[in-house]
Amino acid sequence: MKNRLNWKNIYQNPSFPSFLILIAIIILNASLQHNFFTYRTFKSNLLTFTPLILTSIAQGLVILVGCVDLSLGATVSLITVLMASLMGDSLLSIFIVVLLGSGLAILMSFVNGFLISYFGPPPLLTTYATSVLWFGIALFFMPTPGGYIPKSFSKMYRSDLFPNFPVVLLFLIGAFFILFFISRTRFYKHIYAVGGNEDAAYANGVNVFLTKIKVFLLSGVFIALASICVVAQTATGDARCGLSFSLNSVAASIIGGLSFSGGKGSIIGPIMGGLILGLLINVLYFANITSFYQEFMKGIIIIFSLAIGAIPKYLKTRSL
């Protein structure tokens, strides 16, 4: 019984290319931005990246089980609308509304999971349909961005818990803790089993239906966390604010080495993918590329990252 952890296993790991890209992009960013390694920059970066990282984790989990969630962005939007409509100044009201919003996010994710695993339509279409639905509801309540978020709430979010320890880091640490715990459970193995080969999972006595539902519930937790971050960051409710998360989180997951068909890759991948996409916008900004070309460059770099992500697979087929 020997543990085979050799070099080959590392470079053939699906997350390995994204790790290299991450290092490269950090170096690039640091060389363009002279104050990259200061606390100020660190904190402002964290504030910008956290929602994307959290949604990427949410998406990554769903992709691991062999599904995809295109409604994730619309969920975030709807939650911000809900919170901005209901939130009052008192601490109690903030607390209750945050809980309510989180609950709704998890419930919406559950609806996706239930529709997919009970009726069995393609996840892509199901979540597209629900995303249109959520977006419609959000627009109905708030056709234009607005609502009210107490200053104290967003101030709290942007403040430091201790010196050199921003509050926003708590979200990430919380997320890591949940993932660390989950990754050691039986449930985590079942995610890979269902994503990898649903029939085989069933034939081994894994409850496929329940596993998918649980994954969507868990994904909902991360969507809820992301929504709280977004609403605290922007201090408004906006029916459109989350829409870009849907596909960006998918891109982050795939860049992070997950396989779109599921069951392959590590949940660390989407986190790195999210970081890469976040830093990418930084780099484009500091490289003085005009906003007109930014989207163009972003597209090119995402394609490039995806191509690099395919290298381990290529190496494997060559060495067959």
Binding site: K189, H190, A200
Partner: protein
């Protein structure tokens, strides 16, 4: 004596296609009962019902004397019924130990997986069958035969009282089959009951105490080896439904010796190598010759076929066709030169299951470069019709969906699609894996016909009898090298086994 398991009049159909129409079956405690039948006779469907994966439309199931109604696979597992699946139930991206423990992981009250215990359990399970694999390997990295063994290991590790083996030996080498049989005999002593499904009659006659035969979803007969002799001629008529004398000749008859020395060399392979897999492979095939690749499983036979058909790249060596050196970089280049591969896994690599026979048969033609922009449908239809006649497809309907054909007829389509392109060299990768006798005969006939038309054939078969029945020469591959060439009358079971094992 009461039966441990009894099935009465099981019925099951899928989308209107009847898989089981009237299946009855009994199993005693501590016996190995064979289950035989042609492809599509309902064996696998039956096994899946017993193990709770699908529910029957009608019929009763009795376990330990009382009627049961299996609602899920989990329930069957609780009743100590375990199944070795034909289409493996392994998750390819998970490791060996994860797969062995899947679905019954041991956890702490907090829900955390106990990895140490899982590893110990997996290690113990692997030792049971003396399988030489690492617990940390991903299943997708294992050879097909190791995957099959792992599947068996997994089923055994659940300590079943009833074990169902659905063609467990189809991708195993004979050494591994021996180990499996030893284990089965040991299980029998421990009063475990085994249902053994196989197409290889000699395995049934060797290991089973009794056998039940299915034909077209019906139970058609039973042979008790305690009263009847263990002979093929009793069993084969049950499977085919034809009278004994028609099969008198037997299907594994040695083909007459033919001399090819005067014929033209079609394909010449010169010191072909592939890193870690093949070393200095050299051989020649003459026009119309049928050459077999023999030896233990996974010694590099498949790699030779894959390199010749362009799926793999060689590291060094030369390939010559008609004395001209050629380079094959991808399958389409191989096809251009008239080298065609008939894959082993026909459902995965050879067919578009959801398309009809016509489209399946014209794809190779349509995929060629020299094609008109608008397809000449009329001509294509004609060629397809001639092909269907040539391969004697049943039913001869080009509009039939391939997934609705029986396994044997699917196999005919896989070969048939190349015929219209007039092949020069046909590579066959274990074409009769999991194929019933009737279809085998047909396939052998197609091979013989092609060879008579001057097509050279390179056949890899895990079944020695198949090599004996078809080949003019057999090359024995061992650890990536050709170690021996057996030709003509010397091709027989003993010689093949001896050289495969490198016993002199």
């Amino acid at each position: 004596m009461s039966f441990i398991l009894e099935a009465r009049n099981l019925k099951k159909s899928f989308d209107g296609v009847v898989a089981l129409s009237d299946a009855s079956f009994t199993l005693n405690q501590g016996e190995i009962c064979g289950l035989v039948g042609a492809n599509g006779s309902g064996k696998t469907t039956f096994a899946r019902i017993i193990s709770g994966l699908i529910k029957p439309d009608a019929g009763q199931l009795y376990l330990y004397g009382s009627q049961i109604n299996l609602k899920s696979h989990l329930e069957a597992e609780k009743l100590a019924i375990s199944m070795v699946h034909q289409n493996l139930s392994l998750v390819p991206e998970m490791t060996v130990w994860e797969n062995i423990n899947l679905g019954r992981e041991i956890i702490t009250p907090l829900g955390i997986l106990k990895k140490e215990e899982a590893l110990i359990r997996a290690e113990a399970a692997i030792q049971e069958l003396k399988v030489n694999i690492s617990l940390y390997d991903k299943v997708s990295q294992l050879a097909p035969s190791d995957q099959q063994l792992l599947e068996i290991v997994k089923a055994l590790s659940r300590n079943p009282k009833i074990l169902i083996l659905d063609e467990p030996t189809a991708s195993l080498g004979f050494k591994q089959v021996e180990i499996l049989f030893e284990k089965l005999i040991q299980l029998k002593k421990d009063q475990v009951s085994v249902i053994f499904i196989s197409h290889r009659i000699w395995e049934i006659t060797r290991i089973c105490d009794r056998l039940v035969a299915f034909r077209n979803g019906k139970t058609v007969g039973e042979v008790d080896f305690q009263q009847q002799p263990r002979e093929e001629r009793i069993i084969i008529p049950l499977i085919t439904g034809k009278k004994e004398n028609e099969d008198e000749k037997g299907i594994h008859e040695k083909r007459p010796y033919r001399n090819f020395d005067t014929r033209q060399v079609i394909l010449e392979v010169d010191s072909l190598s592939k890193r870690d897999k093949l070393h200095n492979i050299s051989f020649k095939i003459r026009e119309g010759e049928v050459i077999g690749l023999g030896g233990l499983n996974g010694q590099g036979q498949e790699e030779i076929l894959f390199i010749l058909s362009g799926y793999l790249r060689k590291t060094s060596g030369k390939i010559k066709i008609n004395n001209q050196e050629i380079i094959i970089k991808n399958p389409s280049q191989a096809i251009e030169r008239g080298i065609f591969l008939v894959p082993g896994d026909r459902q995965k690599e050879g067919l578009f299951l959801n398309h009809n026979v016509f489209t399946n048969l014209v794809y190779p033609q349509v995929a060629q470069k020299k094609q008109k922009f608008i397809l000449p449908l009329k001509e294509l239809r004609q060629t397809v019709n001639t092909t269907i006649q040539k391969i004697s497809l049943v039913p001869p309907d080009p509009r039939k969906l391939v997934s609705h054909l029986s396994g044997g007829n699917q196999q005919k389509v896989v070969i048939g699609k190349w015929l219209s392109l007039s092949p020069r060299i046909l590579l066959l990768n274990d074409p009769t894996k999991g194929v019933d006798i009737e279809t085998r005969k047909n396939l052998y006939k197609i091979i013989a016909d092609l060879s008579n038309q001057g097509v050279s054939v390179l056949l890899y078969a895990s079944d020695n009898e198949e090599l004996i029945a078809n080949c003019d020469r057999v090359l024995i591959v061992f650890e990536g090298q050709i170690v021996e060439e057996i030709c003509g009358d010397r091709i027989c079971e003993e010689n093949l086994i001896a050289s495969s094992l490198r016993v002199q």
